[in-house]
């Protein structure tokens, strides 16, 4: 099962995402921003990092990369896409997901082991979880505060499209404690926490993130 990971200039967690796919049992496929070739992958991860330095709005330039035009078209046809941190920001800039990620409330970069609650297990990336599961997954970002209009928030909540919520203290001022959301179709998921850094107990605070990657493999098999 081939899962792609896109490297933009300034991507940082691409190697970790490739490792996570491998440890979940998939075939990791590196994709490069400058090509529109998806190399026959069946799902794609937009990894964390500071693409193009995030000097404009986070993700604002990456959204125009050739690979994104292919991903946007595929996503509209149900292709599973996971955006992690900077990847989430790119998905918002691409309008595949609503809302925006803004500067953390405390104005600092925050790296911490974050407790989370699973709110939606019907996406291809979260189907291995049970609704209400408590996870501990690292967050590490400077602009992770999820903001959206009251209308959009109502839509997300009423349609059950909040995927992950911060448990305990809200680390960045995100509306409704939102840590991750999905699109109406449920194939595109964006999360601020880094599941690819919670894969091995040796290097992460838990192995709670692995289920994101096993989930997508299972959902692709079942399709």
């Amino acid at each position: 099962m081939r899962i792609g990971v896109v490297t933009f200039p300034g991507s940082l967690d691409d190697s970790s995402a490739l490792r996570a796919i491998r440890l979940a049992g998939g075939v990791p496929v590196p994709l490069f921003h400058a090509s529109d070739d998806l190399k026959e992958v069946e799902a794609v991860v937009l990894p964390g990092g500071f693409s193009y330095g995030d000097y404009l709005r986070c993700g604002a330039i990456s959204r125009f990369a050739p690979i994104m035009s292919s991903i946007i078209i595929a996503a509209e046809h149900g292709f599973p896409v996971l955006g992690i941190c900077n990847g989430f920001q790119i998905l918002c800039e691409s309008h595949l997901l609503p809302g925006a990620l803004t500067r953390n409330q405390g104005l600092h970069f925050v790296c911490t082991d974050q407790p989370l609650t699973v709110e939606n297990n019907s996406t291809p990336w979260t189907s291995g979880y049970t609704k209400g599961d408590r996870l501990v997954i690292p967050i590490k970002n400077g602009e992770g505060s999820f903001q959206a209009s009251a209308e959009t928030l109502h839509e997300l909540e009423s349609e059950g499209r909040v995927v992950l919520r911060y448990a305990g203290t809200n680390p960045n001022g995100s509306k409704n404690d939102i840590a991750g959301i999905t699109n109406a179709r449920g194939n595109v998921v964006g999360v601020m926490p880094h599941p690819e850094q919670a894969i091995e107990s040796l290097t992460g605070p838990s192995t709670d993130g692995l289920t994101f990657f096993t989930s997508v493999l299972h959902s692709l098999v079942g399709r």
Binding site: G10, H108, C111, H194, G204
Partner: protein, 745 residues
């Protein structure tokens, strides 16, 4: 302004030149004229002034630093020693590791964010230049009093700068130090360490040889930032009333550096370079003269080809600019097109600016006019050498022993412990370290607040490295010779505590003005101590950095030799952590406690310094390290006792996993009583926990290595009970964690 060419310089020998403003002394200027047989051109003067600055030439420290060569222990692990951009050691399985620590103190005082950010950027390029992929950074930081207004100005910016740059590069920050002391007010220390890994065959050196090979500048364009940074900033004390020096601080672009890293690694992988050098302090002046000097000696550069961010820059400014994120490579002409293709893939600007020539001269032209014609060695290596006056400082004759309270009641134990562990130096540093990404790359096995940072190198074999940086500047102030030794031993202990074997040493020597004989004595004693201990421990020094002039008026900083030790661990899954992992474990202390209060944190919070630093027991420390390595399978946790003594270690070990302990201190057997047992900082001690069923085996091993074992108590519960003093972990945690957020928001 007309161009000052070699011809003009020859024709007009008496033109007044601003050598003094550029930081040169009269005899140094005379020496340049003697070397060239004429007055230097303004471009040559610019080059010599930056390269002969204290920062680049080590002119005050050289005579002492040569001891690292004279006393170097034999080491099979050393692949590249002092003198290259960074030293390289063999860690087995075909892997080589390079690591180095550098200072960026003065720029960080002037412009905290950019100063700290470019400090990280510079050390990362040094590591990259060796051919290695950078894999982690660490940052030992020192500030004035935590509640001083200037500390509030510089600390948030410095922390944000270290994080802003390192996070954006994708390098996990796995440790460091944050220390407060009055002498660092106005002289914050920003030291940055980077470690990188490569295969043996991929090591690259900074050398230009092969006539006809091309000199290629790649990376960011050259701008007006950082001009004269090394000569003006790093080599002079700050004096009030002078113009603002902000323009001399470089501005960092971590995104440019990130793509430069990926681009360079791809270039290295295809073996496309003969030699490579990064552009750091002294910019192109340094890179061209060092590359040429390390090669056959000849090089010609066409300076007008350097891509500029600011087209108004003069040739002198282009030569002195310290614009960041630039590299200079020597490549064979046949490999140029492939080289350029990789640069294009990463959108990295690359420009051929010259070539390696026959002969022994570095010749630089600007639009066809010869503006520099020098023997490169005279610029890069033949700078002035000073044997500066040394005098044992008189403060050493007026030191007073400590006079601290004895702890006679449970209430006193509790209040003194809480006061200590909430003091800024001992308090939890999460406010700082949570601004750094410790997870990126997915190989961080241990990160702060563990005793050392640890990174996995090989996912198949689980080979890894551990790094620790340490200094106890107050001990160095009391006794710089032993202070340096104690810092290195602490660093080695921190490595062994996590289960790794110490392998090599780097150092960053931060001192006041070398023109003060007392400071120079501290420096000489420190280097002598460090060279001696490295020989005694059999550890090679792979490189380092000297930072002088950390001084405001007549007040110098505490002598602060920051020692970094690299260790190797064969299987990172076997590492030992510092936190108590479970209840019902035996709590033991390895090593004896004496009444070593001088220089301790407890004395510090009582406003005292004391008189005598501890005397290092090297032979015992070696046995302790060997015990830790052999006993590793028996240990549930291990934590070095250092700053704050047992009190701080117990706090950190219990709070890590919120598992308490019941501790009984036999004060009557320890000189200094319960107070010493809790707060003395006797070196060579480790707090460990073991499963009761492994106790006998541990004691047998300790006996074999002749290390005393003291039974302190048992783990469990939600309180820390010390004799009859009860401290709920909730209260302990609040005291330990509230300080930095309260001070810095």
């Amino acid at each position: 302004m007309s161009l000052d060419t070699v011809a003009v310089a020859t024709a007009h020998p008496d033109t007044e030149q601003p050598w003094r403003e550029l930081g040169l002394k009269e005899d140094e200027y005379a020496r340049i004229k003697e070397i060239l047989g004429r007055r230097p051109t303004s471009s040559e003067l610019a080059m010599y002034s930056v390269m002969w600055s204290e920062h680049c030439s080590y002119k005050s420290s050289k005579v002492h630093l040569k001891q690292f060569g004279e006393k170097a222990p034999h080491s099979d692990a050393l692949l590249v020693g002092i003198g290259e951009n960074a030293g390289v050691v063999d860690i087995g399985q075909g892997y080589a590791v390079t690591f180095k620590i550098e200072s960026h103190n003065h720029p960080s005082f002037v412009e905290p964010y950019q100063g700290a950010a470019t400090g990280v950027g510079g050390i990362v390029r040094d590591i990259l230049t060796m051919g290695a992929r950078p894999i982690a950074v660490m940052d030992p930081l020192r500030f004035g009093p935590a509640d001083a207004p200037d500390t509030r100005r510089v600390l948030p910016g410095i922390v944000a700068g270290v994080g802003g740059y390192g996070n954006c590069l994708g390098l996990p920050n796995i440790g460091g130090e944050v220390v407060f002391d009055a002498t660092y007010a106005g002289n914050p220390l920003v030291n940055a360490l980077c470690v990188g890994v490569m295969r043996h065959e991929d090591i690259k050196l900074a050398t230009a040889h092969g006539t006809g090979n091309l000199v290629v500048l790649f990376g960011a364009k050259t701008g007006g930032d950082g001009i004269g940074g090394v000569s003006v900033l790093a080599s002079e004390t700050f004096a009030s009333g002078k113009a603002a020096k902000r323009p001399a601080v470089q501005v960092g672009d971590p995104f440019a550096e990130k793509v430069l890293i990926e681009c360079s690694l791809e270039i290295f992988a295809e073996d496309l370079v003969v030699g490579i050098q990064d552009l750091g302090g002294a910019g192109l002046s340094c890179a061209t003269s060092e590359l040429a000097s390390a090669g056959s000696g000849g090089m010609s550069i066409q300076l007008e080809k350097v891509p500029l961010r600011d087209p108004s820059l003069s040739p002198e400014e282009i030569l002195m600019s310290e614009s960041q994120e630039r590299m200079c490579a020597i490549i064979e002409p046949s490999k140029l097109s492939r080289f350029m293709k990789i640069c294009k893939k990463w959108d990295v600007t690359a420009t051929v600016i010259g070539e390696v020539t026959e002969g022994k001269h570095l010749e630089i032209t600007f639009n066809g006019e010869l503006i520099v014609d020098v023997p490169p060695r005279t610029v890069a290596h033949d700078g002035p050498v000073y044997n500066r006056p040394i005098a044992r400082p008189t403060y050493l004759d007026s030191l007073a022993p400590t006079s601290l309270p004895t702890l006679d009641s449970a209430a006193e134990i509790k209040s003194e412990l809480l006061a200590l562990i909430s003091s800024p130096n001992i308090a939890d540093k999460s406010w700082v370290t949570d601004q750094y990404d410790r997870y990126v790359q997915g190989n961080s096995v241990l990160a702060q607040p563990e005793d050392s940072g640890m990174v996995r190198i090989d996912e198949e074999t689980n080979l890894g490295v551990a790094i620790s940086t340490d200094a106890n500047a107050r001990w160095s102030y009391l006794d710089p010779y032993n202070g340096a030794k104690l810092a290195l031993l602490e660093s080695c202990r921190n490595i062994a505590t996590t289960g790794a074997k110490p392998l090599a040493v780097t150092n960053c020597l931060n001192f006041g003005s070398p023109e003060d004989p007392g400071v120079m004595w501290q420096f000489a004693e420190t280097v002598r101590g460090l060279a001696d201990i490295c020989l005694e421990m059999g550890l090679p020094v792979t490189g380092g950095n000297v930072s002088f002039y950390n001084q405001t008026g007549s007040v110098a900083i505490l002598p602060t030799p920051v020692i970094g030790v690299l260790g190797v661990i064969q299987d990172v899954t076997k590492r030992t952590k510092m936190g108590i992992p479970a209840a019902d474990l035996e709590v033991l202390q390895l090593g004896n406690t004496a009444d070593n209060f001088s220089g301790s944190e407890w004395a510090h919070i009582h406003g005292q310094l004391g008189d005598l630093a501890p005397t290092p027991d090297i032979e015992m420390e070696v046995r302790l390290i060997n015990l830790l390595l052999e006993a590793q399978p028996l240990l549930e946790s291990a934590h070095d006792l250092s700053d704050g003594g047992l009190a701080a270690a117990l706090t950190e070990a219990t709070l890590r996993n919120s598992i308490g302990a019941t501790i009984s201190l036999p004060g009557e057997y320890i000189p200094g009583g319960v107070a010493a047992a809790l707060f003395a900082e006797t070196p060579g001690r480790i707090l460990i926990t073991v499963d009761p069923q492994n106790l006998a085996a541990l004691e047998a091993l300790a006996a074999k290595f002749e290390i005393p074992v003291h039974h302190l108590g048992k783990t469990g519960g939600d309180i820390l009970l010390i004799n009859d003093a009860t401290i709920p972990l909730v209260e302990l945690k609040e005291a330990h964690t509230a300080t930095l957020p309260r001070l810095f928001g």
